[in-house]
């Protein structure tokens, strides 16, 4: 295709194709414009605009997923297939929950600014395109669109020493990882002569050395983003230092999104036998390290936010077990288990951080274990919700977290990876200790000086309450009714190997 026809072909169809992302970008710009015109009224209004835009993208993605739409846009740089739509739906759901949790906390910290919602929307648009990109350059651009706003969001309370420090650390490590990613892309481009993910396999015959080093660097970049050991150092610091609603956003959306691009590159780009024999054992090793290190360090944490940071590292490990099993089995159904896990993970994490936000007051965050002592007696409903989320994170049967782990582990057993599953289950048992420690603090510990603990709902927010109940309902309902999301996920992952339209 020559240049003129390439330009002439860009048009309404392309824009309509990426409408779930475009919608978010437009809403973000609208929020910024509104803030300039009506600076006094724009705060809550922009929260509503953000929610509407996210809901629009969520339903558009779900609708496309249900009808199985498969659209290529921008000269095949972007492909909104069911896989991309499924990721887009998960991410929009995660971001909706994160936006719901924000107004109360930001008001208390006196940084309730419209920019917050605009940054979230821009970041989400990058995430939506990340899972949809069909070439490595598009993937890099989407990754940066996703990351740069999050660097700003982590430092959003900019007079707070912890927030700025976390922001700096996250930025440095993120940019460092981007450096590896770009160098990997450069080497793969040299090997294959193209950056289209489907055609990367050509590179192996033409220049195997370049191909493998490019693949390694690209993987390092992705592993940084998902917070796998030994590239996890930023996770606990960024989670602890960031304002809690931002931590919520990071622990769900920013966590789930990199898996979209990673799965696509691994299974479409490097999905052929020779390459798989190289990356699959490496991934198994990293999964074991990630689970074990994450869980062991989480054991000794007293700060719930930091503990959740390590717990999120451990959960990356479980997800990598699913990815390795899918590679072994050559099965897209096993990948569907990974998608289902991400979906449930988003819900249970949102809830846990939501409860922490609920009891954060003007002067301090309720992050420490001691801050939750006596919650069970004083605020039974909040404590019950927190218990549901924590039990789900542990993997206790009727809840979503159990079924997420169950599907992943059963595919791993099918793939004959018994030692790996044993390690993963042992890790789940270890993780029960620190999740139950929080429940123990809420129900069974008395305040040390014998006084009654006091829990105010300072800055009561309907948004936050709605977010807590929605995620709790989701964890329970989609745990019992796990077939429906799993079926959708299977449709989604099946499209990964179909040729683009």
């Amino acid at each position: 295709m020559n240049f003129e026809t390439a330009v002439a072909n860009l048009g309404f169809r392309d824009l309509a194709g990426i409408s779930p992302a475009l919608n978010l970008i437009l809403a973000g710009i609208a929020i910024l414009a509104l803030d300039a015109i009506l600076p006094m009224r724009s705060k809550l209004l922009s929260a509503w605009i953000a929610l509407l835009a996210l809901a629009g993208s969520l339903f558009a993605s779900l609708h496309r997923l249900a009808v199985g739409a498969d659209i290529s846009a921008f000269n095949h740089a972007v492909r909104m297939d069911p896989f991309a739509n499924a990721f887009s739906a998960i991410i929009c759901l995660a971001s909706t929950l994160a936006v719901l949790s924000a107004p109360k906390y930001l008001k208390l910290r006196e940084v309730h600014l419209a920019e917050y919602y605009a940054l979230i929307l821009f970041s989400v648009s990058g995430m939506v395109l990340f899972g949809a990109s069909q070439d490595l350059l598009m993937m890099f651009l989407a990754l940066e669109t996703m990351s740069i706003p999050v660097y700003c969001l982590v430092g959003f309370t900019r007079t707070n020493v912890y927030s700025t420090e976390a922001s700096m650390k996250y930025f440095l490590i993120g940019a460092f990882a981007a450096g590896f990613l770009v160098y990997g892309i450069a080497l793969l481009y040299g090997a294959a002569g193209t950056v289209r993910i489907e055609d990367l396999a050509v590179g192996l015959d033409r220049a195997p050395g370049l191909f493998y080093s490019g693949m390694a660097l690209l993987l390092v970049g992705f592993l940084f983003k998902i917070g796998a050991v030994p590239f996890h150092m930023w996770t606990p610091d960024a989670y602890e230092g960031a304002p809690t609603p931002v931590t919520t956003f990071m622990a769900e959306a920013v966590k789930a999104a990199p898996f979209g691009g990673m799965l696509k590159v691994l299974f479409v780009g490097f999905g052929f036998e020779e390459a798989m024999q190289v990356w699959q054992p490496v991934l198994i090793g990293i999964a074991v390290l990630t689970m074990t290190v994450g869980n062991l360090i989480a054991l000794v944490q007293d700060d719930v936010k930091r503990m959740m940071g390590y717990s999120s590292i451990a959960h990356s490990g479980y997800i990598l077990v699913g990815v390795a099993a899918a590679a072994e089995l050559h099965s897209t159904d096993a990948l569907a288990a990974v998608l289902y896990y991400l979906f449930i993970y988003v819900l249970m994490n949102a809830g846990t951080f939501g409860v922490l936000i609920l009891f954060s007051s003007k002067d301090k965050d309720a992050n420490h274990l001691d801050d939750l002592v006596g919650l069970g007696r004083e605020r039974p409903w909040a404590a019950a919700l927190m218990t549901v989320f924590l039990l789900s994170l542990t993997g206790i049967p009727p809840l979503g977290g159990f079924f997420g782990k169950f599907y992943i582990f059963s595919y791993a057993i099918q793939a004959g990876m018994i030692p790996l599953v044993v390690i993963a289950i042992l890790n789940s048992v270890v993780s029960a200790y620190y999740y139950l420690k929080v429940i123990g603090a809420m129900y069974f510990r008395e305040p040390e000086d014998g006084a009654r603990a006091v829990f105010y709902f300072e800055g009561y927010s309907v948004f936050l309450i709605a977010m807590l109940w929605l995620s709790a309902a989701g964890v329970v309902y989609w745990g019992i009714q796990s077939e429906t999301p799993l079926l959708l996920a299977e449709q989604a992952t099946a499209s990964l190997f179909k040729p683009a339209p």
Partner: protein, 104 residues
């Protein structure tokens, strides 16, 4: 008349050296601004090899990639410097070793 024919491998070696220097700077230096420069060096090493490959493969798209990567790098460093200023205002230091309230 080429006195010393400079080919793809020379560019790749240079780019590899630049990338390594960039990584070492990020790991070893403690001044945050110097660390930023190390990251920029890593990105530019990648740019150099993309241009070299693009020339070697006679594929023009590589040139476009470089422009896009440079744009992203500029956006990234703009945000990075803004964060640096916010950090300096709260902490009065840009030494990476002194920025360590969050640990374990």
């Amino acid at each position: 008349m080429t006195f010393f024919p400079v080919g793809l491998s020379h560019y790749l070696c240079l780019s590899g050296v630049l990338f390594t220097i960039g990584v070492l700077v990020v790991i070893l230096r403690r001044n945050l601004i110097v660390i930023f420069m190390g990251i920029e060096l890593m990105l530019n090493a990648a740019n150099l090899s993309i241009v070299a490959f693009s020339r070697h493969l006679e594929d023009m798209s590589g040139h476009v990639f470089v422009l896009l990567i440079m744009t992203v790098a500029a956006a990234e460093v703009a945000v990075g410097l803004a964060i640096l200023i916010a950090l300096f205002r709260t902490r009065r230091t840009i030494n990476a070793d002194e920025v360590s309230y969050l640990r374990w």
